[in-house]
Symmetry: D2
Subunit: 355 residues, 4 copies
Amino acid sequence: MSWNTFGRVLRFTTWGESHGPALGAVLDGCPPRITLSAEDVQPFMDARKPGQNRFTTQRKEADLVRILSGVFEGQTTGTPISLMIENTDQRSKDYSEIAKSYRPGHADYSYDAKYGIRDYRGGGRSSARETAARVAAGAVARLIIPEVKITGFVCELGGDKIDRDNIDFAEIGNNPFFCPDAEAAKRWEEKIDAARKAGSSLGAVVECVAEGVPAGWGAPVYAKLDSDLAAAMMTINATKGVEIGDGFDAARLTGEENADAMRPGENGPEFAANHSGGTAGGISTGQPVVCRVAFKPTSSILTPVDTITSDGEATQIRTKGRHDPCVGIRGTPVVEAMMALVLADHKLLHNAQCG
Amino acid sequence: MSWNTFGRVLRFTTWGESHGPALGAVLDGCPPRITLSAEDVQPFMDARKPGQNRFTTQRKEADLVRILSGVFEGQTTGTPISLMIENTDQRSKDYSEIAKSYRPGHADYSYDAKYGIRDYRGGGRSSARETAARVAAGAVARLIIPEVKITGFVCELGGDKIDRDNIDFAEIGNNPFFCPDAEAAKRWEEKIDAARKAGSSLGAVVECVAEGVPAGWGAPVYAKLDSDLAAAMMTINATKGVEIGDGFDAARLTGEENADAMRPGENGPEFAANHSGGTAGGISTGQPVVCRVAFKPTSSILTPVDTITSDGEATQIRTKGRHDPCVGIRGTPVVEAMMALVLADHKLLHNAQCG
Amino acid sequence: MSWNTFGRVLRFTTWGESHGPALGAVLDGCPPRITLSAEDVQPFMDARKPGQNRFTTQRKEADLVRILSGVFEGQTTGTPISLMIENTDQRSKDYSEIAKSYRPGHADYSYDAKYGIRDYRGGGRSSARETAARVAAGAVARLIIPEVKITGFVCELGGDKIDRDNIDFAEIGNNPFFCPDAEAAKRWEEKIDAARKAGSSLGAVVECVAEGVPAGWGAPVYAKLDSDLAAAMMTINATKGVEIGDGFDAARLTGEENADAMRPGENGPEFAANHSGGTAGGISTGQPVVCRVAFKPTSSILTPVDTITSDGEATQIRTKGRHDPCVGIRGTPVVEAMMALVLADHKLLHNAQCG
Amino acid sequence: MSWNTFGRVLRFTTWGESHGPALGAVLDGCPPRITLSAEDVQPFMDARKPGQNRFTTQRKEADLVRILSGVFEGQTTGTPISLMIENTDQRSKDYSEIAKSYRPGHADYSYDAKYGIRDYRGGGRSSARETAARVAAGAVARLIIPEVKITGFVCELGGDKIDRDNIDFAEIGNNPFFCPDAEAAKRWEEKIDAARKAGSSLGAVVECVAEGVPAGWGAPVYAKLDSDLAAAMMTINATKGVEIGDGFDAARLTGEENADAMRPGENGPEFAANHSGGTAGGISTGQPVVCRVAFKPTSSILTPVDTITSDGEATQIRTKGRHDPCVGIRGTPVVEAMMALVLADHKLLHNAQCG
C-alpha cells in the first residue's frame, strides 16, 4: 500500500482536493461480470453528501459520480474502475486568513512542516471531501460481497450514548444523525443546535456491524481483519480511536466474562456472545463483525483559538465558513464504505490463498 | 504489505510457530552504516521474555537473537537483516485436547475454518510467541531513529487505572508490570495473584509515548501516522482497541476543549495541550506521539468454558499449561517495538518524498 | 505493485479503455514544490499522439492532458497528481466482427478466457491507447530527475538496423520514425509504405539512453535497476524482449571482452566501455543507462488469418480500421516515459534508505 | 514488492550473504494442505549446487535446506515457510585485494557508491549464492502448480547455439550443461575447458518452457505475465536480457509471419505456431510459456583488468578464487525456479479476482 492507495488485492487509490476541479477513486482488482452502473453508487453518495439539513455543512454538492472505465455494457470487466466526482460548489471565498495562519487541530501546520507548501483552500487534500471518493469505491465493494449486510450508525454524540435496548435499525434513516435510537435522536438535535449556536462542535462515535461474513476471512499476522479495519477507519478524517468488538471494555473483563462460548449450531457453531466482534486471531468467526470509531469534534470552530502565523507570530484564529458541527455524523457512510472495502478485499484475498 | 510483512519502505517479515524449531524476522530497507550487534537487540528481548516472574507464563526461553545477515564488521550494510530466535522450551506436552476441541476466544476455530489445518501446538502461528520476532526487529528500528525516545507502560490493569498525577517513568523498571505508578503496581500485584489463583485472567491497557518525533512524519491519506500505528498495534495478539491522543475521550469534548492551541516557541511552535497525540491530518506535529492499546484478558483460562469439538460436538474445555494471566503486561515491549518500526518507516518514507 | 499500478515509492496507476470516455493516470509520491503545469506534459503527449503522418494510425486525438489534482499555484504539493485525457475520436464503427471472432496475436482470446467478458471496442483496456496515460505520468517523472537526460530512438525497423557510426541524436526529430540515422530513415520510409500497401506490419527495436544517472540508484536484489526497467518495458503493448547494455550480445562475449575496465577520472571513475549498460549488480555505475526493447509487428493486419469465433467455430479475420503499421515507432515516447518513471522512482527509493 | 521481496500474493523474501553463516527465503501466501518436506526441495538444490563437476565453481556446499516454519505434520499450513541453508564452505581466504580494489563488471563499485559499505567477502549480498534461496522457494512454488511442467535448458553457450532439430529433453540430465542437444554438449565441453584454461569466462542463453499453463493467467496492465517474468529473470545475477516467445526475432517478422493462427481444438483453441511464447496482452493463451534469458560471461576472470582502488587510484585486478567459468549453466535451475514462482503467483492472483 502506498500513500494514497489502500487494499491488498482489491486496491483503491483516491485523488483530489477540496477546491480542485474534481476528485475521484480508481478501484483496481474488482472481479469481472458484476452488474454496475452509476445508479448503484449514487444512493451512497447521497447519504454522505453535504448540505442536506441544518446539522451538516451548507456546502451544496450534487456529488454525482461518473464511471469512466472498467464497465462495459453494464458489467465490470475486471479492469480498473475510475470514479470521478466534480466539485461544483467551491465557493470563491477569501482564504487569506487560513493561508497565513494555522488552525490548531487541522492539518495546516503539519502539511506545511512536511511539504513546505499546502493547498489551503478548504483544507486541500486534508479535507474530508476526499471521503466522497471512498464512498463511491465502497459502493462498488458492496457488490463484491452481496452476502454481507453492512449497517453503520452513530452510537454516541457529544458524550450522549444511545440506549442499547432501544436500537432499531429501521430508525437510522428517520433522522439526520444515522441514529438507531429515536429517543437519542431527539436529544441530539438539541445538542447540535446548541453547539452550532455557540460556534462550537461535538465529537461522536460511529458503530458499524457487518452481518453475513463467513468464517475464514482475514489473514495472520499483518493482515488481521482487526488490523486492516483499524487502519481503514483511522484514515478517515477526525478519527482518533477504533475498537473491534468490546474494544477497550474488553480490557476491563475477566477471561470468563470475555469468552464467547461455543455450542453446536445448524450452520456451524453458535456463540453465546460476541465480545470479540466477530474475529479470533484476526480471522472472522462467522459472527457479525463489529467495529466502533471515535470522531473528535471538528477543530473548525467560530470560537477564537490561539495560534501562530506561517511566519511564526502569535495570533488568534476563528474558522468561519461552512463546516459540520459534528463530523462524525457524515462519517457514518464513510465508515460503512471502509468496512465494505476491507471485507471485499479479504474475500478476494481468501480466494487467492484458500480458494 | 503482504500477510506476514509490515511496513512501507522499512519492511519486516516474520515467520515461525510457537512450537517449531525457531522463529524470526527479516528486516528489509534498513539504512547502511548503523552500528549493530546482537547486544543492541538482546535487552529488548529480555524485557519481553517469558518466565521472569510469577506474573507471566512459566515457559523458559532464553530468547537469544542471532543476526544471520545484513551486518558486516559491526555495521549494517543496507541488505536484509535476518534475526533468528530458536525455541528451546517447547515442552512436550499432551495437546490431544486442544487438537480435538476449539478454545473459545482463541484462533483455533477460525484458523481451521480458513485453512482446514492448524498447528495446534501452543497455538502455532497464532501464538503471541510470534511477537518475539517483532521485538527483535523493533530493536533495530530504534537505531534508525536515535532522535526518538519511546516509552511504553501499562496504564490500566483489570480496570484499575494508574493515577496520572503519580506517573514516574523511572518506576517502570521497578515492578513486573511496566507500571509508572508505584501505588498502582502494588494494587495490581494483588489483582493478578487473585486472578491467577482463580484460574482467571485480566485485561490491560498499554500506553506508548514517543518523544522527539519531528514535525512532518506521516503521509496522507492512507499512510497517516494514526492509521499505520493503529494497524501496527492491532496486529498484536489479544488487542481489541487503539487510540491516538485522547482517542475515544476526544469524542466527548467540544471543539474548544479539544483544540491544541499554538504559540510561538524557540524551536517551532509550542502547544497548550496534546489532545491530538502528536498528529494532525495524519502527520506528526512535533509533539509527543501518544498511543494506547487495549488488550483483552487471555482466553487461556482454567475455568471450563462451553465449546465444540472439531467434529462439531458439544463439550467443555479448560486451558491448562503455561499462560500469562495478563497478556497486556508482556505486550508492553511489543507495543514499543511496533511504535519504533512505524516511526522508523515513516522517517525513511519522509526522506523518500521530501528528503 | 498491484495490477494497474507500477512503482515502489513513486507509483502510478492508469485506468481507461480505448473507446471509453477518457483515460488517465494517478501519480502518487511526487515530491512537493516542483513547478508543473499542463504545458510541461503536452509536448510528450504530442510526440506520441496518433494521426500525425501516414506512418501511424489515422485516429485523430488531441490528447490534451488535464491536471485534476496535486498542483497548487503552479507547484506540486506532494499529493496525488491526477492526469486525465479525454477520448474524442472513438469512431462509431461496426465492431460486430471483432466482437464475435478472436484476432490472433491480440488479447481478444486471452481476455475472454480470463474474465469471461471483454470490451471489444478498439481492444478496450488492451489497447495501446493506455500508453497515453503513462506518457503523461512520465512527463512529470522527468521533472523529478532534472539531472538525467533521456533519449529514445528506433534502432531497428523491420530487421533493418541503423548504422551505429551514423547516429546523430539531432536527427531524431527530423523524421517520423524517431530515427537518429538519416540514411536509415529514408530506407524505413520505403519499408513502411510497402508494408502498409501490402496490408502487413513490421516490428522494431527501440533503444533508450539515460545520461546523468549518478552511481548508486537501484537496489538489490528484487529491485535491481535492470529488473525494474525490464518489467517496465515489458508492460508496453507489443513488446517481447528487453536488453540492458549489450544484452543478448553480451552472452556471446568472453569475460575480458565484456569487462568495462575502470580508471581514475575527475568525477569518479571513468570506464573504458559500457557493455553493462550502466548497471552493476542492479545498481547504477554512473555510466549512461542503456536499454533496448523489441516490439513485435502489430497483429492488426489486413491479410486474412485463420481464427475461431467466440463460439469456437473456425473462421478467418482481417483487421480493418486504423492501425499503426509499426507500433514500435510510437512506442518510443512510451519507452522514454517508462525509463523516466523507473529512474525517478529509484532516485526517491535511494533517498529513503541512503538519503 | 520491496527490495528483497518478490511476488504479489505469493511473495518470497530472501536474505543472506555469500560468506555469512546462512541464507534463506521466507515464502508467504502458500496455500494450505500441500504435502511438503525437505525431500521435495532438495533435488532442486542439488541441481544448482556448486562443486559437482569441473565446469562449475569448486566451492563445496551441501546446500541442505531446513524448513523452519509453515509445515505441520507434513503439510503446509498457509503460514510463512522459512527455508534456511547454512553456508559451510566459506573458505577463509585473503580478501584484502578485493577489499581494496573494485572488480570491473562486479557490484563492488556500485554497492560502495550506494551504501558506503560492502561485505566484500565473496561478493556479499551480490553473490549468486543468493539464488540458492530462490531455488528452495521455487521448489515449493512448483507444488502449487502441479498442472505445469517446467523445463529449463541452456540453448546457447559462448555464442554456439543448440540445433533446434536436435532437442531431446531427456538429454538435459545427461551432461553438465543442462543441454538438450547431445552434439552441442560435446562442443561446449571443449569450449569451457578452453576458457577455463585461458582464465576467461563465457556467456550463455537459458531457455525455459512451461507446459500446462491454462489460458487466463497474468493480468493487465502492470502485472502482465511477460512483465513479471522479465522482472523475475532480470533479478538473477549476470542476466542482461530476456525474451518471451520469439523476442527480438519477432521484431524482424511481418505481421503475417508472426501471427499465431487459431483453429478449433478439442480442449480450447489450437494454435498454428507459438511466436508469442504463450501470452497475448500479458495473459496466458494456453500454449507453452517460453522465456529466454541472456547471461553475460562472469567478470571474475584471471586475466588482469584495469581498475581503481577504493581510494581512486589506478591499479589492475585478477579475480582468483573459485568461480564458474560460465554462470549461465548453474543459472538454469534458477531460471526454472523463477518461472515456477511467477506462475504460482499468477495462479493465486487469478483465483483472487476471477476464482
